[in-house]
């Protein structure tokens, strides 16, 4: 048996050291974003909330979009109603920009990255390489359809096939396209930070691209909690059935 040259052994050992923090594929090892992430706060500052509803006063909306958003807000009035109030996920880009202040979990494989936002168990799947679904085979939705590729250590996610949403802070039409750029950094306190830069273009709703940056802080050994939003409604329904059953026996 031939002996492996000493330098080769060192290269193999080096790879073993690198593997836990990088994922191979797509032309080489890339940063591993896997884990639990929560809204980042600069050292010494409190964390803010997540993506609220109905903001966007300073957004460069077209006249058509402004009318639709105003009509929606007039409809809702002061009821406080929201998609989340009906157990509906935030939808893009509100989900990636905060998701109500709840954490998110990323599970990363070379060909697919799953992002689960705790609120409403909202899940986005980012397909890479050969897993990318052809445009003609995509279905539209509130989070659209996402494909990704790497540009060095930056993950670039392209989201299309969104449905029109006037019910979130960043309203958009079904023609919206969202590009996210994710990269890892470390702050002055040593916290691992995931920086997400978002650019949304939408010729129907916006006169120019909309950009936002969201930072997520890594939570070592963090766990996402279940969020069965519909449970309360189901229990109330059962209570109503029980009440009716009792009344009918009288």
């Amino acid at each position: 048996m031939r002996r492996m040259p000493r330098c080769s052994v060192l290269v193999v050992l080096g790879c073993l050291v690198i593997l836990p923090t990088a994922v191979a594929g797509q032309g080489g090892p890339h940063p591993d974003f896997s884990g639990l992430w929560t809204t980042y706060a600069e050292p010494g500052q409190a964390r803010g909330g997540g993506a609220g509803r109905g903001g966007g006063a300073s957004l460069p909306l077209t006249d058509e979009a402004r009318k639709k958003v105003e009509a929606y807000r007039a409809l809702i009035g002061d009821s406080g109603a929201s998609p989340g109030g009906f157990c509906l996920g935030t939808g893009m880009p509100g989900s990636m920009l905060g998701s109500g202040g709840y954490p998110m979990e990323i599970l990363q494989r070379p060909e697919q990255i799953n992002i689960t936002y705790e609120a409403h168990n909202e899940v986005r799947r980012v397909y890479l390489g050969e897993r990318i679904v052809p445009m003609a085979d995509r279905l539209p939705g509130r989070d659209g359809h996402s494909s990704g590729h790497w540009e060095g250590d930056t993950l670039v996610v392209d989201t299309t096939h969104l449905v029109e949403q006037v019910d979130q802070r960043w309203p958009h039409s079904d023609q919206a396209r969202i590009v996210e750029r994710y990269r890892l950094t470390t702050d002055s306190a040593g916290t691992k930070v995931l920086v997400a830069e978002m650019t949304m273009t939408d010729p129907v709703f916006y006169t120019k691209p909309v950009t936002e940056t969201k930072k997520w802080a890594y939570v070592p050994n963090g766990h996402l909690l279940p969020y069965e939003c519909a449970e309360e409604g189901w229990r109330i329904h059962l209570e109503e059935l029980e009440k009716k059953a009792k009344e009918s026996k009288r």
């Binding site: 109030g85 157990c87 709840y102 309360e232 189901w234």
Partner: protein, 138 residues
């Protein structure tokens, strides 16, 4: 923990963040600038999302009545100290809540002290006000 409370104290946002069509409600009916504290016996408790639900039997000078109370999501309460089994039917607990704006009794549970003395939940409006006054040297 302080960071968690800061998160939760910003949660008028999350308070409005969910429930179902059948149970549709938002937090607009509650006054998050005020704190009402009430002690009673737990008749019913559900640690669910998007809002905890509690029926509390209160007995005081006004008499005995049952109050329906909802609260922050179980997930947010968990991150602010709540654990499974902390509240049981029959327990006497104290609830800090944002009261209903229309003057009726009841409210939105922001924090609570369980029968074993464990406090969980967010910073209340009263606690935030006290913190501000201390910071301003009043």
């Amino acid at each position: 923990m302080k960071q968690l409370w800061s998160l939760l104290s910003a949660l008028a946002l999350v308070a409005a963040f969910g429930t179902t069509a059948a149970a549709h409600h938002s937090a607009v009916q509650y006054d998050f600038t005020k704190t009402a504290t009430i002690t009673g016996v737990v008749l019913k408790f559900q640690a669910i999302n998007p809002h905890m639900r509690l029926t509390l039997r209160v007995t005081d000078a006004k008499g005995t009545r049952d109050l329906e109370i909802e609260g922050h999501s179980t997930n947010n309460m968990y991150r602010a100290g709540y654990r499974d089994g902390l509240i049981k039917v029959g327990d006497t607990i104290t609830v800090h809540m944002a009261p209903l704006r229309d003057g009726r009794e009841g409210g939105y549970m922001v924090a609570a002290v369980a029968a074993n003395g464990t406090r969980f939940g967010a910073q209340t409006a009263a606690e935030r006000a006290g913190e501000r006054e201390r910071a301003e040297g009043k």
